[in-house]
């Protein structure tokens, strides 16, 4: 009788337990969705309301479609949209041309000086995009570009071979600056690639290049596609290169229009117009988010990591290592060496000059002494707060979101993923304006206006999209059997996440943590929109200097910044390397 009772009760308890667990997961996912909905939805809602209003946010004016009519009934808008698409596609092409081989070379081969290259790649990220752009003006401007002048002399040509002031020129500079970001996103996927497929190819006598094209690229296609989707949205939203190269030559893209609407050269800003232009991005973003969700679904086909040990074997390059090194050196030259040398040169001049004997004789270190005194300590402290807080918050949220999206069967996980992608569809500047007015309207209960934490919040929201794309990419490749094994052993879902999933994806998460920290350090648009004199960060100081035409001072600050960030990132990498290694080895 007793055994009968036990027999009757036991299955019911298991079912009940499983049901409770499922319910717990659903409730957790619902709570997370609700939190994200508020976090992302409220500033986005402010932006949408803004697009339906004229005047300034806060002014009590009726809703209107005036902005949309002005934007969408203007033929010029579509020309600019076309410019934007060409710029985005060209930038992505440049970025992928460098990124895919770089990732493969660094993650899967035995190329020498790997650690040095990795450090240099990180240093490249630390050079703010607009400083890099200035460097390229000095090199490729049709009138004064050193490379152009040199080639004209060499080939006795009357016209310069390169014109930086074109969409191609813009795409080149932007594309190169995308490479480190794309590298970090793809690196984790390549590192985790199943070597057995390559080994099979080599055993069958297939060459390295063919294996790279036929095995490596297809196997990481979801990750590459995710990177492309992400870069596409970024390319549409970036404004520094379009502002410095495009606007002087009247080459307008969508981001310049939005920037001009909120920060006009003449007159007062039209936030409503910015919102209406931003709507194009929002629609594109949502379409791409839906595309991304489909890619994630297909990702299951590419699951290659199992519990059977997955550390990939390095491929011996042999005599190809010199070609690989040359490729890496070429990339590093245009990404790091040349911009840094130009910065260094500019920082030691009383005013910006092309290299000459007179310029050499006028070199000085005075900007290095004067600039830190002018800037003070507060911007550095605020920047450090950003560099640590933003990536930590972003990655915690990203891991939780990806876990629900990739590892659970919650019915609304697609919605959650799309929700996490929405911030990338909203231009940072609009998100920041939405945040600012939210903080102003509810300043009594939400006293963040004018503090560094409002920038922390804006950055965190903005990079949830990036964080979740990375954590999605790496989580896709962790096979479910590991978690199932954990669950069969009686571990709870949080324990499985903490003990099994997290160690497996730690390397990818740490890479993203560092990368988001650096993005936060150099981000200028949102920080500029939200800054007051109490929450100044270094990027806003640099931008102010640039606006004032203090290029040598900007260059000196740039060099100091690069050293500052190299020390911070280097320290963080050393401290976290053990955790990273644990993550990789697990």
């Amino acid at each position: 009788m007793k055994s009968e009772t036990r027999h009757d009760v036991s299955p019911i308890s298991w079912e009940g337990y499983a049901q409770l667990k499922q319910q717990g997961t659903t409730w957790f996912a619902a709570g997370l969705s609700g939190f994200l909905l508020i976090l992302i939805g409220v500033p986005v809602a402010m932006v949408i309301i803004m697009s339906l209003r004229t005047g300034f946010p806060g002014e009590d004016l009726p809703l209107t479609l005036e902005n949309f009519i002005e934007v969408y009934f203007n033929a010029g808008t579509y020309e600019i949209l076309l410019n934007t698409l060409i710029f985005a596609v060209a930038s992505i092409s440049v970025a992928l041309f460098f990124t895919v081989p770089l990732v493969w070379i660094l993650m899967r081969t035995d190329i020498p000086f790997k650690k040095t290259i990795y450090v240099l790649l990180t240093v490249g990220i630390l050079i703010p995009v607009f400083l890099r752009t200035i460097a390229w003006i000095l090199l490729l401007s049709p009138r004064i570009g050193l490379i152009n002048l040199w080639l004209q002399k060499l080939f006795e040509s009357s016209s310069p071979p390169f014109n930086l002031y074109s969409i191609t020129g813009m795409a080149f500079v932007q594309g190169v600056s995308f490479v480190p970001g794309a590298f970090f996103m793809l690196a984790a996927a390549y590192r985790s690639m199943d070597p057995s497929l390559e080994e099979a190819a080599y055993t069958s006598g297939v060459g390295k290049l063919k294996t790279f094209l036929k095995i490596n690229i297809p196997i990481t296609l979801p990750a590459i596609a995710a990177v492309m989707v992400y870069l596409f949205m970024t390319a549409i939203a970036v404004f520094e290169v379009p502002a410095i190269i495009g606007m002087p030559a009247r080459i307008l893209v969508l981001s310049s229009l939005i920037y001009n609407s909120t920060t006009p050269s003449t007159g007062l800003p039209s936030y409503g117009m910015a919102g209406a232009y931003g709507a194009i991005m929002l629609v594109l973003g949502l379409a791409l988010a839906s595309l991304y969700v489909r890619l994630v679904k297909q990702g299951k086909k590419y699951t290659v990591i199992t519990g059977r040990g997955y550390r990939p074997r390095e491929i011996a390059l042999g005599r190809w290592k010199w070609a690989a090194l040359a490729f890496v050196f070429f990339y590093l030259s245009i990404e790091v060496f040349i911009p840094f040398l130009v910065l260094l040169w500019a920082s030691m001049l009383p005013y910006l000059q092309l290299p000459s004997a007179a310029a050499l004789s006028s070199m000085t270190l005075k900007h290095y002494v004067e600039v830190p005194l002018h800037v003070g300590a507060q911007p550095f402290i605020n920047t450090l707060i950003l560099m640590f807080t933003v990536p930590t918050l972003t990655m915690i949220l990203s891991v939780l979101i990806s876990w629900v999206v990739i590892r659970t069967q919650v019915s609304f996980r697609g919605f959650l993923d799309t929700l996490a992608f929405i911030p990338h569809a909203v231009p940072g500047i609009l998100m920041a304006v939405g945040m600012a007015y939210l903080a102003l309207a509810y300043r009594d209960v939400f006293p963040l206006y004018g503090t560094v934490f409002i920038i922390v919040l804006a950055h965190t929201i903005n990079w949830i999209a990036y964080g979740t794309r990375t954590t999605n990419s790496v989580m896709i490749q962790v096979h479910r059997e590991l978690e199932e094994a954990g669950r069969v052993s009686g571990a709870s879902s949080p324990r499985v996440l903490w003990k099994i999933v997290l160690p497996l994806i730690a390397a990818g998460v740490l890479n993203s943590w560092v990368w988001i920290g650096m993005l936060s350090y150099r981000e200028v648009t949102m920080a500029l929109t939200l800054y007051t004199r109490h929450n100044v960060v270094i990027s806003t100081v640099v931008w102010q200097f640039w606006g004032s035409g203090w290029v040598p001072q900007v260059a000196a600050l740039g060099v100091i910044l690069i050293l500052f960030a190299t020390i911070v990132v280097g320290t963080v990498r050393v401290v976290l390397s053990r955790i990273g290694e644990i993550g990789e080895a697990s």
Binding site: G55, F56, P57, G58, E59, N74, G76, I137, L138, S141, R143, I144, M247, P248, A249, R250, L252, L257, N260, T263, P264, S265, T266, G267, L268, P269, P350, Y351, L352, Q353, L354, S362, H374, Y437, L440, A441, R443, G450, L528, T532, R533, T540, W543, Q544, W546, G547, S548, G549, W550, V551, P552
Partner: protein
């Protein structure tokens, strides 16, 4: 006794009258000083060319003059247009401004005045000359900028330096000119000596020269590098900075009329430290700030005899902006921005 009363009463009445007049004259100043002591601080927004050292020098001179110990917080301008808009936006949201006073151009103060965002005060009571006061007692003139075509002395031969505005339309400059986003420079010509029709035609022809566009600071760099041979206008702030660093920039100073935007200072409506701000505004109109402003920001007032600006304008046709031109200049600034391609 009667005789005495007849003498004493008028004397007493005179004494009372003198005391009353005296108190009426000293009253506002004393009240402001007393109020300023209580407030103890001021948030000051000004040109970045002034720099922290210049702001501190102003602060010290101010404290010394009135026997105060006011702490001055200096916010250097990154973009006056954007920051003026920020003040307007904050006001629309019902939030107090971030700064107590703003030193921006008269065109920017025009934007504030059109939206009634000044805290007005009769500055003549504090000894400020009437001609220095603008925008219905909302702003006071501090210093004059000058805007003219500028070039690189090392790269442009003397024979090619333009001597009149129309020289900029010579086809030989096509693609080699620059235009800065301060399109209010041309709007001032339109509201003043040239009139709207002539100026608009000039602006359109200038735009056909396909100039490189940019902000003043950037344009100065492009001129120094030789990317641009002539900037259609540049401000004396850039010339001053270039001179300090040894960069070869110069004004084409044979050209007339000379455009003179003014740096005005005004107290913002809802300023948290209104007494210090009002007192500081009056102080900014005094002759003693001129050497400080000249040393750090590079300009001086054309209204104060003996200053460089005063000497510069003698015998020249100079275009000043008046408050009744604010609306037209505001409109034309945007129109010209669109013609050049800065905005849509």
């Amino acid at each position: 006794m009667k005789k005495m009363r007849g003498t004493v009463i008028p004397l007493l009445a005179l004494a009372v009258a003198i005391a009353w007049v005296g108190s009426a004259q000293a009253g506002p100043l004393e009240d402001l000083v007393a109020g300023a002591k209580k407030e103890g601080a001021i948030e000051f927004y000004g040109p970045s060319t002034l720099g922290p050292d210049g702001a501190q020098a102003l602060s010290q001179a101010f404290n010394k003059k009135y026997g105060l110990n006011i702490k001055l917080g200096y916010s250097p301008s990154g973009n006056m247009t954007r920051d003026t808009a920020k003040v307007i936006g904050l006001s629309a949201s019902g939030v107090a401004p971030e700064w107590d006073i703003m030193v921006v151009t008269d065109a920017h103060h025009g934007s504030l005045w059109l939206r009634k965002l000044h805290k007005s005060f009769d500055y003549t009571q504090l000894g400020v000359a009437k001609e220095r006061i603008e925008y219905d007692n909302g702003a006071v003139s501090v210093a004059n900028q000058f805007a003219l075509p500028a070039y690189n002395k090392k790269l442009l031969p003397a024979k090619d330096v333009p001597t009149k505005w129309e020289d900029l339309l010579d086809p030989k400059w096509k693609g080699k000119l620059g235009v800065i986003n301060s399109t209010h420079h041309f709007a001032r010509l339109a509201a003043g000596p040239w009139g709207e029709e002539k100026t608009t035609a000039f602006v359109k022809k200038l735009a056909e020269q396909k100039p490189i566009l940019g902000r003043a600071g950037e344009m100065a760099q492009r001129l120094i590098l030789g990317e641009v041979l002539i900037s259609a206008t540049l401000q004396d702030s850039q010339i001053h900075e270039a001179a300090e660093s040894g960069a070869p920039l110069a004004f084409a100073d044979a050209i007339q009329p000379v455009i003179s935007p003014e740096y005005n200072v005004g107290v913002l409506k809802g300023a948290p430290h209104a007494n210090v701000a009002t007192l500081f505004t009056a102080f900014m109109a005094s002759a003693e700030i001129q050497p400080i402003w000249k040393k750090h920001a590079g300009q001086s007032s054309a209204y104060v005899p003996g200053t460089d600006a005063y000497k510069f304008v003698q015998g020249k046709q100079v275009v000043y902006m008046k408050q009744d031109q604010a609306k037209l200049i505001d409109k034309l600034t945007r129109d010209y921005g669109k013609i050049f391609g800065f905005d849509r």
